[in-house]
């Protein structure tokens, strides 16, 4: 599995923008509504934005100074904007999913293995359709998409 989820870095990357308060509220509201993750969890973090992505970065008075550096990445890729919806990354859920109280799908080992192998499996559950936290034997694996009668994996 080592190295599999490496992505090409963009050598032309520039600093993402710091988002206005309303945009932050929108993100926090989404995380709370969908997953029950309390907004306070992110009090010491900023969200930075690039065209289609939000990055989580530690809140710091040094941000302006750091912008003088030519960077490759800043922070953790946290959410993507996918056709008008916010989609949490697997990395975000693996780290902060422990604070979630809903939107969690507990899979048995057999179903998880099958999902990882086939990427999309027939599936029915009582959750609202949308992005879900995939959990198995108490461990959080990452992000899935539940649609009526099917489950899609976004695990790397």
């Amino acid at each position: 599995m080592k190295g599999k989820n490496r992505k090409k870095l963009d050598p032309q990357a520039t600093w993402p923008r710091l988002i206005p308060e309303e945009e932050r509220e929108e993100i926090l509201r989404y995380l709370e509504n969908r997953f029950g993750i309390p907004p306070e969890i992110f009090n010491s973090y900023e969200f930075l934005a690039t065209a289609k992505n939000y990055w989580l970065f530690v809140r710091t008075p040094h941000l302006r100074a750091l912008e003088k550096l030519r960077i490759q990445t800043a922070g953790l890729l946290f959410l993507r904007k996918v056709s008008g919806y916010l989609k949490p990354t697997t990395a975000a859920l693996q780290r902060f999913g422990v604070y979630a109280r809903r939107g969690i799908l507990d899979l048995d080992r057999y179903t998880l293995d099958r999902l990882r192998l086939e990427k999309k499996i027939p599936f029915t559950c009582s959750l609202e359709p949308g992005y879900v936290i995939l959990r198995c034997e108490g461990k959080i694996w990452g992000c899935g998409l539940y649609l009526p009668e099917k489950l899609i994996s976004y695990l790397p």
Partner: protein
Amino acid sequence: MAETPETADQYFERYREIIPDYPAFLEALSQPLPLYFRLNTLKVRDPSPVMEGLSRQGFRVEPVPQVPWFFRVEPREFSLGNTEEYYLGLIYPMTLSSSLPVYALEPRPGELILDLCAAPGSKTTQIAQHTEDQAVIVANDRRLDRITALVANLRRLGIACVVTTVYRGEQYPLEVSFDKVLVDAPCSGEGRYRRGYEGELLFQKEGRTNLSGIQKGLIVRAYDLLKPGGILVYSTCTINPEENEAVVDYLLRKRQAELLDWEAPLPSHPGLTEWAGRPFHPHLVKAKRFYAHEIEAVGFFVAKLRRVA
């Protein structure tokens, strides 16, 4: 006429006088390197599920009493990189002594820290973990491919406090000043040598390039990147005094820096104040040497300094 290659025993003979219990050192070189990992406390606090998971996969796992969150694993020939615990970012495999520079650095939340030679990120991620993801860390490496590997590790461990850059360390832009800078320098890697295993030829191959020159360039730039009073930690995984004390001595002659004491969780020996007939600054005794056979891990050198002016 082809030279007969030097054997390890012939090579290390030059250090007979400085390595404590030299026969035990030679003896240890026949064992493969012990395997360790660090528990990623940003994701799990309780090691039991990780230990149980790994033992189900055939590993024997023991906590290291002296170094919190480190675990020793057998069989050491197995790879942890294929385990579920690795994939989920619960563990970071790294040698035990690789934790030492971060002990010297004593990173704190809110500090602005530069890791000048950071890839693949064992120390960057350890600093992040140590500060609960609340320091601001700039992780740099001159090689983009190695920074790509570092970014994959940050993602795997779920770390949000790191900015990555790709500069030649000697030419790092001076626009930003840091509270602390770590120089985990490229080195000949003598400390990781084991007969017939990884690292076999490294010291012979790279020993011929001017590593000491590169290291001097890196340590001086690291100093120049510090705020006044800032902390610099210089480390290598080599025994060679030319890459260790001589590099720190060079900085002491070029800049106003002072060596500091620090507390290490593993047994060490003082830095040398003389090598090959050349004296070094007497304060070099405050640097620490860690030998492979005494710590059951890769041999290390760590010096902690403060920028005075």
